[in-house]
């Protein structure tokens, strides 16, 4: 019986952890914009901005 009570307590604690993670995410504004991050992740963060971009040809057409 004590095992059950211990497990319930533990599961509640874990669940509370998730609840607070969610509340933190809301507070830090992560739910403000659900679209842009999905694009941002596809944009490479490469530092080298070479003048001769090979893809440049396609732009001219």
């Amino acid at each position: 019986m004590t095992t059950i009570f211990f497990l319930i307590g533990a599961s509640l604690l874990v669940a509370l952890g998730f609840l607070f993670a969610f509340l933190w995410a809301v507070k830090s504004g992560q739910y403000k914009d659900l679209y842009t991050p999905s694009i941002r992740i596809l944009l490479d963060d490469d530092g080298d901005m070479q003048e001769d971009d090979p893809k440049d040809e396609s732009v001219k057409n």
Binding site: L19, L23, D33, T36, M49, D56
Partner: protein, 796 residues
């Protein structure tokens, strides 16, 4: 037309492409941006998306953002300022693709002093953190403008901070309710599997106490808004959906606490938490809004925030709109809107009042003539001496007058409120009857059955029907470019029986003319001479005629003169051409069918005219074919009756009204409403603002939905005009979905009440019935609205 596409914006380069290193540009502006990005090593902008650039119709003039140097404005705009670091959020309507995001988030490469920039794409906003000792707010705005991302800044508009906070609160409420619901459900489960015996005392006690602790935040935080609103409305004598919800919550709570305290059962804590959780999901689903669209613009958002004032000593100073006084002299730059009524000080001005009056022609003014607020200057800068302050101008007064009527009348009661009233009364009646019945026959069951009825008569399915049906409908309409202010507009659209159209800009396309020639056939040589003369004139009608005559051979006239608001005169060798208004060309004035006509008279004997009419939108025939039978349709136009015959194809004669001033349109709509009609107004400009506000549902048609549009209930992309019958059909049929959902809800309630009135309701039954009914509604409404979307709007 050439086949060259501008490297920057992808538009056709026209006759005179601007070349640079074999790269064609449509204009100098695009070339400049290309070079700026080239130098900033931001060429990747052009490889992410093909020709992502933005073209500006008119070059920006310096000093447009000078007012951003003023301290009080900076204070208002900055979100954060500490030390030498500031942060600001700017609205940039022209953000449109992933290249934009990439470029704007790499602003720091373009200019030292910018620390970080982040784009919120759905809201079309950029948040920039910058060192204000290295780059000022004004310089930041100018930097954005220099790459054609014009920020639209209005310090008076609340940056929806409150709305954001409210949204966050709802999310938090939802999170808490979900957490509590899941845990209470788990702890309640063991009880449901014990048939014939009860759980051990320790389990009952611990589970009960934890459940009770978990329900506290659900009531006091997640569900408190329903309780308060239900109570508040009851005191005012209003019965809406919040009342049965409050009754349900209270009954569940007190019954549960009672059985827990008396150790007679597990209580209904799980049903209660689930109830609140599902309600909040519905609310959250309904809250969907289009962040980047503004449905409530007042006149100020149409005006420039800062105006260039010419002081008596000739110096220029930047002042804010509110500081303008009568007698001030202001400079209006090209494409700017005149902020207040006044007299023209410059020699000549071309003012486009289409936005204010709905008239499509550009008005030419000469020195001393009166100009009115709301007009847009086309051409070079002009000076104006104000004869009124901003607040006293004709346009502003009109706007404020309309605001009075904006308080929507209550005749159009929301469906849910009417239904809730009956629902509440019927439930209370059943509860009382069952109380009375058991009081007589078995008094031990009386109170139990009474409370059971209140518990099980769950308004959850009712409360979820509208948010999910209308919320889904709103999303489907958004896909095809029809954006609603909130999901309740679907209901208004579905019950409308009258549609009023504006003409200019709504049924006709702005700036797209159709030219018809009346008179004897022109030879190639005559055409060539006409072409040569018209192409020298900048008047919009000349432009239209010039386009009509097309490209081809032309000659340079030996003599050419343009007489303001009259016409043109040209001489070539021994021929002459006179073109323009009737009084100028023919020395007579006839009043038959006034309209946009360009008369010509030539030495080679041509005596005829061009009629210039604005082009009708595509697909008008089908649109009107479709809505003619179901709706009473009217036309209100600010223009003269020149178009009466063309419009007669669509409207009945008595329903067409021309020469309507904005105030006339407003009263017309009000009159229709007094006749008991439910009116949809479809318009576009400021001249329709009053009518849009007065109607039950105002729909504003906009070429670019993020730009100017008057206050309204829905904004629609002009290119999607032909979808109007589909949208109205969708709205009408969504009503059927709602009625079916209500039927489901009633069936579930009958099932629940069957147990309740007999006093047989147990927590298990409630725990099965409540989520089941809610889920049925959510699934049913979602699938059926999807299906309607495919059927009416061709949404995939």
């Amino acid at each position: 037309m050439s086949d060259l596409k501008c490297v920057h914006c992808g538009l056709d380069c026209g006759n005179k492409p601007v070349w640079q290193n074999e790269n064609p540009f449509c204009c100098e502006g695009c070339k400049t941006v290309y070079n700026i990005l080239q130098h900033g090593k931001l060429k990747k902008y052009y490889s992410l998306m093909e020709t992502p650039g933005i073209r500006l119709e008119a070059p920006e003039e310096g000093g447009k953002y000078a007012w951003l140097d003023r301290e009080e404005i900076i204070q208002k705009l900055l979100e954060y300022r500490q030390g030498n670091v500031s942060r600001v959020r700017l609205f940039i309507p022209s953000i449109h693709c992933s290249s934009c995001i990439w470029l704007l988030e790499n602003l720091s490469r373009l200019r030292a002093g910018i620390i970080h920039s982040e784009v919120n794409f759905p809201a079309r906003e950029i948040t920039v953190t910058f060192k204000h000792d290295m780059i000022s707010l004004r310089q930041l705005a100018e930097l954005l403008a220099s790459i054609h991302y014009l920020p639209e800044i209005n310090p008076d508009i609340d940056k929806s901070e409150a709305k954001q906070k409210e949204g966050n609160r709802l999310l938090r409420q939802l999170g808490v309710a979900g957490f509590c619901f899941a845990n209470i459900m788990l702890l309640s489960l063991p009880d449901y599997f014990t048939v014939g015996y009860r759980l051990d005392y320790e389990y009952r006690l611990v589970f009960g106490i934890i459940n009770f602790l978990l329900i506290i935040p659900v009531i006091l935080f997640s569900g408190v808004d329903y309780l308060l609103s239900g109570f508040r409305n009851l005191r005012k004598g209003i019965i809406n959906i919040d009342l049965p919800i409050s009754i349900g919550i209270s009954a569940l709570l007190f019954q549960s606490i009672f059985v827990l305290a008396s150790d007679t059962g597990p209580g209904y804590f799980d049903s209660l938490a689930g109830f609140v959780f599902f309600l909040l999901i519905g609310k959250w689903f309904q809250q969907h809004t289009y962040d980047a669209l503004s449905f409530e613009r007042d006149y100020k958002s149409f005006f420039p925030v800062g105006v260039l004032r010419i002081e008596p000593d000739g110096k220029e100073s930047n002042v804010l709109l509110d500081e303008l006084k009568m007698g001030d002299r202001v400079r209006i730059r090209s494409q700017e809107i005149i902020p207040a009524d006044g007299h023209l000080v410059s020699d000549k001005a071309h003012i486009d009042y289409s936005f204010v009056s709905g008239e499509s022609e550009i008005v030419e003014c000469v020195r001393g003539e009166e100009v009115f607020a709301g007009g847009r200057q086309k051409g070079s800068s002009i000076d104006i001496e104000l004869s009124a302050a901003v607040e006293q101008s004709r346009l502003t007064r009109l706007w404020n007058h309309d605001l009075q009527s904006k308080k929507k009348d209550k005749s159009l009661k929301m469906l849910i409120d009417q239904v809730s009233k009956y629902f509440t009364l019927v439930v209370i009646l059943i509860a009382l009857v069952s109380l009375g019945y058991w009081w007589i026959f078995n008094s031990s069951l009386a109170l139990l059955s009474f409370v059971s009825v209140l518990i099980v008569a769950c308004p959850c399915a009712l409360a979820l029907t509208l948010p999910f049906t209308y919320g889904n409908a709103m999303r489907q309409m958004g896909i095809v470019g029809f954006f609603l202010k909130h999901s309740g507009v679907v209901e208004v659209l579905s019950s409308a029986d009258t549609i009023v159209f504006d003409k200019t800009g709504t049924l006709t396309e702005q700036g797209n003319f159709q030219v018809i020639y009346f008179g004897k056939t022109l030879s190639e040589d005559e055409k060539m001479l006409l072409r040569s003369s018209f192409r020298h004139s900048t008047h919009p009608l000349s432009r239209a005629v010039s386009d009509f005559l097309g490209e081809g051979k032309s000659v340079e006239p030996e003599f050419f003169q343009e007489l303001p608001s009259l016409g043109i005169f040209m001489k070539y060798k021994d021929t002459w051409i006179k073109a323009g208004s009737e009084s100028f060309v023919r020395n007579e004035k006839s009043d038959i069918e006034p309209g946009s006509k360009v008369y010509i008279s030539t030495s080679f004997g041509t005596n005829s005219y061009f009629q210039v009419i604005s082009q009708l939108r595509n697909g008008l025939d089908e649109v009107f074919q479709n809505i003619k039978e179901k709706y009473d349709i009217h036309l209100l136009s600010g223009d003269g009756p020149a178009d009466a015959s063309r419009m007669g194809n669509f409207f009945r004669k008595e329903n067409m009204h021309f020469g309507m001033l904005p105030a006339d349109k407003h009263t017309y709509i009000q009159k229709l409403k007094q006749q008991g009609k439910k009116v949809i107004m479809i318009g576009d400009g400021l001249n329709d603002a009053g009518a849009l506000a007065a109607s039950n549902a105002g729909i504003s048609v906009a070429g670019s939905v993020y730009h100017f549009s008057p206050a309204c209930d829905a904004i629609m992309k002009a290119s999607q005009f032909e979808k109007i019958p589909g949208i109205l059909g969708f709205a009408r049929q969504s009503k059927i979905i709602i009625h079916l959902s209500f039927l489901f809800s009633v069936l579930y309630n009958i099932a629940g009440l069957w147990f309740a009135v007999q006093g047989l309701l147990t927590p298990v039954i409630a725990a099965i019935l409540m989520p089941l009914s809610s889920l049925t509604i959510v699934v049913f409404t979602t699938f059926t609205t999807r299906w309607l979307g495919i059927r009416w709007l061709n949404v995939n």
